[in-house]
């Protein structure tokens, strides 16, 4: 087991480095000159642009720029935003907690909704309730996220005045964005939970266990739930690794602080140090979460441990 984990960690390092190379290539090779994250091409002369490029080291060969960047990272220096001069590390450390907050709460919401509705759907299989739940879960994943968000703001903030529509200070500001994000992914969980619950309920070994006189509670907790946990963990893992993707739109709609918002602005402004820094950090989270997910499989399902 330890050997597997160590091997995983080593692969993860390769993936991390690969992500750095990839982002660097994407941001520098796509058409467009990154210098325009700093200067306005309509008001700056070519001479001024060349001088500024030289000053920032942007006229060096790409390979050299990359090596220097990696060395800086190893020293804990992620550079400064080209547009605002703010140190990238500070910017990320300030914004990352807000995005994690959003992700954690929306995962809790989607898992709760997903398991509840998924099991309901399985229990009342083929009845009207089942069909309603399935169609509802399909609807949630068929709506454009930003539209759902804007509708929520209009209803709960402007009309009913129950909840704040923006900001990221305090728990109340978290409710609308995380519900928006949560119900979208709950649709996926409902379907997975329903399928695995159906599978296990009909398994002969459940019948056998009960025949052997095992308490119903034990059957439920140890076997049905365990079986439902595996797809759920998979989805949680996916959702956490996708938190950056989800936060890009949600944080913009709800004017929240977070890395999703800064990276989308940075991509469009070609503020490369920010883009690289954010991708690096989210890649770390991605890799760690995948590691945790793999390990939890082994704990929950003995079959995986053996394999």
């Amino acid at each position: 087991m330890a050997g597997v984990v160590i091997k995983k960690i080593l692969t993860s390092l390769v993936v991390l480095f690969g992500a750095l190379v990839l982002v660097f290539l994407i941001m520098n090779v796509l058409p467009g000159d990154p210098i325009f994250s700093i200067v306005d091409p309509t008001t700056t002369s070519p001479e001024e642009i060349a001088a500024l490029k030289h000053e920032l080291g942007m006229d060096k060969p790409l390979g050299q720029q990359f090596v220097e960047y990696v060395i800086d990272i190893l020293h804990g220096d992620f550079g400064k935003s080209r547009a605002s001069s703010e140190p990238v590390l500070a910017l990320i450390l300030k914004n990352l907690p807000k995005t994690i907050e959003l992700t954690v709460v929306s995962v809790v919401i989607s898992v709760t909704l997903g398991i509840l509705l998924g099991i309901l759907s399985a229990v009342f299989r083929n009845r009207v309730l089942d069909t309603v739940v399935r169609v509802l879960s399909l609807i949630t994943i068929s709506m454009p996220t930003f539209w759902t968000g804007v509708l929520f703001i209009l209803l709960f903030s402007v009309k009913l005045r129950w909840l704040p529509s923006m900001g990221s200070e305090g728990f109340r500001t978290l409710i609308l964005p995380s519900v928006t994000l949560g119900i979208v992914s709950s649709g996926v969980i409902v379907r997975m939970v329903r399928n695995s619950a159906l599978e296990i309920i009909n398994e002969p070994f459940i019948v056998t266990l009960r025949a052997k006189g095992l308490a119903e509670r034990t059957v439920m907790l140890r076997h049905v739930l365990r079986n439902v946990m595996i797809p759920t963990i998979t989805v949680i893992g996916l959702q956490v690794t996708n938190m950056l993707a989800g936060s890009v739109i949600i944080e913009t709609v709800f004017s929240r602080q977070g890395i999703g918002r800064i990276i989308s602005t940075a991509i469009m402004a070609r503020d490369i140090p920010i883009v690289q820094g954010v991708v690096f950090f989210s890649a770390i989270i991605c890799v760690v979460v995948n590691l945790v997910v793999d390990v939890s499989y082994a704990i929950i399902d003995p079959r995986v441990r053996r394999a």
Binding site: G18, S142, M143, T145, W147, V248, I267, V279, S282
Partner: protein, 272 residues
């Protein structure tokens, strides 16, 4: 009991199919469905609520929202279908090759996909769409590139599971050439789950495109696609909600119909 359920979800599938067919009709022959020209700006009839003359109301240019939505179906479908085709074909081929060849190629492929997966698709799409000039082509390219990993993963999984089935092993041992096995058996056998995925991908491409135009990377064409329409209309939600509501409902209904059909397809292909 069982019969009733069957007919209910069948009914849903039939309705979905009809709706998709109607949208297809709109895309192919919009002039046949739409009562007005999508570019006609009747400035005397700004921001009119839905009525019999204007089924979905009029927008801030005085255009008939229903007609704009009908005409907009063409670009929306093009975005959906073209992204799925491009992403699916490239991803599918890559995944199939990796799975079939195996060994070092497969390992490198796996690492590469893992690296790609650390960068969320929407960011990749954002970077591409921002760097290229905004156009239908760059939106399609952005969405398809960002969907390559998911297609290639599914295809690779399929190919590996089929490769190890007895009859492939047999034809391998009787000396059939690799390429023949690849095309004849492996590819032909792995397309079905892939088809399901591509169907669902059609819906999600349209959603991603609407997200891109929300972030300011949409295209301004004669006739806006649904995502652009929805994102541009959102500023009028309080004053004239129909500009936003109807495109939103149409996107949702269309993606929903696609998902229902995709679900049915999955049930038929893989009845578990």
């Amino acid at each position: 009991m069982k019969k009733l359920k069957l007919s209910l979800s069948d009914a849903l599938a039939v309705i979905s199919g009809l709706f998709i067919a109607f949208i297809l009709l709109c895309a192919i022959a919009p002039g046949f469905v739409a009562p007005y020209s999508p570019t006609y700006m009747n400035v005397a009839d700004l921001l009119q609520a839905p009525s019999l003359t204007h089924l979905f109301g009029t927008d801030y240019f005085g255009r008939d929202v229903f007609s704009v939505v009908v005409y907009g179906s063409r670009d929306s479908l093009i975005i959906g279908v073209a992204s799925v085709l491009t992403g699916g074909i490239i991803g599918g081929i890559l995944g199939a090759l990796a799975g079939f060849i195996g060994g070092v190629v497969d390992t490198i492929f796996n690492r590469f996909i893992e690296i790609l997966m650390t960068i969320p698709g929407i960011l990749l799409a954002l970077a591409i769409a921002a760097a290229l000039r905004p156009s239908l082509f760059s939106i399609v390219l952005a969405i398809s590139v960002s969907s390559i990993p998911q297609y290639s993963r599914v295809m690779r999984g399929q190919v590996i599971s089929i490769k190890n089935r007895p009859y492939i092993t047999v034809s391998n041992s009787i000396g059939t050439r690799g390429a023949v096995i690849f095309v004849k058996h492996v590819l032909l056998n792995s397309w079905s789950p892939f088809l399901v995925m591509a169907t669902l991908g059609l819906g999600s491409s349209i959603l991603v495109a609407s997200g891109l135009s929300f972030l300011g990377l949409g295209i301004i064409k004669e006739i806006p696609d649904w995502g652009t329409l929805l994102s541009q209309g959102r500023g009028y939600l309080v004053v004239a909600h129909w500009i936003c509501t109807f495109p939103g409902l149409v996107i949702t209904a269309f993606v929903l119909a696609i998902n229902i059909i995709g679900d049915r397809l999955r049930d038929v292909i893989d009845p578990k």
